[in-house]
């Protein structure tokens, strides 16, 4: 048995620190002065539309891309100079596939284990465990190329876990997973976090997945626009969110500003407004403009509202403009 202090020391080392990282592809600035920290044993999510810089950051942290400016460390090791140490303790699951389709699931895992210096009985146990946890046991003799997209993802995830990494980096892990498999994946991630103290950094563009993280960073056009727990982020929006539909958005926007002194934004063919007491304002609004307002919906802010609040864009719109 390890004493408490020992466990503390081990886990205190597993975290990620990023300081003022910038990255360019030619003229395009993909990451702009990014700084954040991932605490030991937490699940940290990077939320943002595709093209927001998530994958670039992911590739930097997984030691694939050279660091251009800024510094970063994983578990106390410097990313620029100690990548070899970092590689032994991170587990990486890429968004793009990294399986060899001509090999079976088991062969893929066996080669992966060998790359991390694991062989023999230990390797067999680890592979069996990973297969079992990801529900792949009965597919282990199938060629990887014959698997469905969701099953391939699961093998990818199994690959990243074989060497029991202290830090797990997952790039859009639930792409192609059906809701059941996604649920199982999160259950397993939380088990790793709880029982083994694994620190997990995950990128996603799915709101419901972001909700599951302990803390979140919202990435937009290479900048970190918000950072905090999902609850903190929602609280930062304040009060309620009103989405107002109208035949004449511009007219309504001007009149609302004149009458109530509020500044609604036009987002995706509707007016959007945050208000501390939404239900009361809703009544006033309909009383004031019965003709102009065609429908209103009122809700507690979601992470999507946080994104709109911080960037002025609808999440999916931002994705399209990139």
């Amino acid at each position: 048995m390890l004493s408490n202090t020992q466990i503390q020391e081990t886990t205190a080392a597993s975290r990620i620190g990023v300081t003022e990282i910038s990255h360019r592809y030619g003229d395009r600035l993909a990451l702009n002065q990014l700084s954040f920290e991932v605490h030991p044993s937490e699940i940290f999510g990077l939320l943002g539309p595709n093209g927001g810089g998530k994958t670039t950051l992911f590739r930097l942290l997984s030691t694939l891309l050279p660091l251009q400016s800024g510094t970063a460390n994983i578990a106390g090791f410097d990313l620029a100079t100690q990548s070899q140490q970092i590689r032994t303790l991170i587990g990486v699951t890429f968004q793009s596939p990294s399986l060899d389709g001509k090999l079976t699931v088991q062969e893929n895992l066996r080669h992966q284990a060998h790359l991390y210096g694991i062989s023999g009985a230990l390797m067999r146990t680890r592979i069996e465990n990973a297969l079992q946890h990801l529900g792949l046991t009965d597919r282990k003799h199938d060629l990887a190329e014959s698997l469905s997209g969701g099953l391939k993802r699961r093998v990818e995830i199994a690959k990243g876990l074989l060497h029991s990494p202290q830090v797990l980096l997952l790039d859009e892990p639930s792409t192609g997973l059906d809701p059941g498999a996604r649920h199982d994946l999160w259950k397993y991630l939380k088990q790793l976090q709880r029982e083994d103290g694994v620190t997990i950094l995950i990128t996603t563009h799915l709101m419901e997945e972001a909700e599951q993280c302990d803390r979140l960073g919202i990435l937009h056009q290479g900048e970190l626009v918000a950072l905090g727990t999902p609850d903190e982020l929602r609280a930062s929006v304040g009060g309620d969110c009103l989405t107002i539909h109208s035949e004449n958005l511009d007219e309504l926007q001007t009149q609302m500003t004149q009458k109530f002194g509020v500044e609604p934004q036009i987002v995706n063919h509707s007016l959007r407004l945050e208000h501390p007491r939404g239900h009361e304002f809703l009544k006033d609004l309909i009383d004031a403009f019965p003709q102009l307002v065609s429908s209103v919906s009122l809700g507690k802010p979601t992470l999507e509202d946080v994104f709109i609040h911080e960037t002025g864009h609808q999440f999916w719109q931002a994705e399209e403009t990139v």
Partner: protein, 289 residues
């Protein structure tokens, strides 16, 4: 204990294991992949054999054996070591083309983020390619002459005895390693397999043609100088010497001695491997494609 693997129990990994295990596993993967893609086996082995039979038949009449050759040498006999080198080269090319595929399909990035030394990645690839190349070459050396039964090959002796079998394997291994390393150096910076095919037709094929594989080097003239400057000439001649029964081959500038063949082939091999390792040491943007 049927729990998820504990993070605190990282296995102790010796430096030798960390270096050798990836080499062996990557080489094994190479061999398994190759054997599962039957068209590749056919492509790398059948084409040279067809060349051997067809050119052998077509050029039989016009071939004039070089002075050093035993009297009555047919073209097909002359061409035999050349075709063997072609088999080595084709297999080397096919196995190094897979670097481009590995990069595209993503397998390579998984290897690059692992703690495997870059040297092991290179050596694993080269070892796998070389094993395949040597296997196919040996297969040809033993089965090719049997084509005489169906009249597709002349009756001749390959000069392989129990005593010369080990040197043959070693030399094929050296030459195969060298050609695979050359393929690696070409393939590593490539974006597409089409690019590799272009290099193959303007560089690798001429290199093979001008190595004394296809026609003998004359004693003078610009062509003979090119052939003498081509490192592969020394590989082909070295193989020809091992495959020639008795010591019937005199040493001339176009037909260097075994010591020179061995030295040149070894030095060139070391250079190719060194370049390959040097290229993989750099962490660059291309790794993330």
């Amino acid at each position: 204990m049927n729990q998820s693997p504990s993070t605190l129990a990282l296995p102790p990994v010796g430096p030798m294991k960390q270096f050798m295990l990836p080499i062996l596993t990557l080489a094994q993967r190479e061999v398994v992949r190759f054997l599962r893609q039957r068209t590749r086996v056919i492509g790398a082995l059948m084409q040279p054999i067809l060349f051997w039979i067809l050119f052998g038949a077509g050029l039989r009449g016009s071939f004039k054996p070089p002075e050093w050759a035993a009297s009555g040498m047919t073209y097909q006999e002359y061409f035999f070591p050349g075709v063997t080198v072609m088999i080595l080269m084709f297999t080397a090319i096919f196995s190094t083309i897979s670097i481009i595929e590995d990069r595209k399909e993503g397998f390579l990035q998984g290897v690059l983020v692992s703690p495997v030394p870059r040297t092991s990645i290179v050596l694993g690839k080269l070892l796998g390619g070389t094993i395949l190349a040597v296997l196919q070459a040996v297969l040809f050396i033993f089965l090719g002459p049997l084509l005489k039964i169906v009249g597709l090959a002349p009756d001749f002796q390959t000069g392989i005895t129990l005593a010369s079998f080990i040197p043959l394997i070693l030399f094929l291994f050296l030459l195969g390693f060298s050609l695979t390393a050359l393929g690696f150096v070409i393939a590593w910076p490539m974006e597409s397999t089409q690019g590799f095919h272009a290099i193959m037709s303007v560089f690798l094929m001429p290199m093979w043609l001008l190595s004394g594989s296809f026609f003998p080097a004359g004693e003078s003239g610009w062509l003979s100088w090119i052939i003498r400057a081509n490192p592969l000439t020394y590989g082909v001649t070295g193989l020809r010497r091992i495959l020639t029964p008795e010591s019937g081959l005199p040493s001339t500038p176009g037909n260097p001695s075994m010591i020179i063949c061995l030295t040149v082939t070894t030095v060139v091999c070391i250079i190719y491997v060194a370049i390959a390792i040097w290229m993989t040491q750099k962490r660059s943007t291309r790794n993330a494609r």
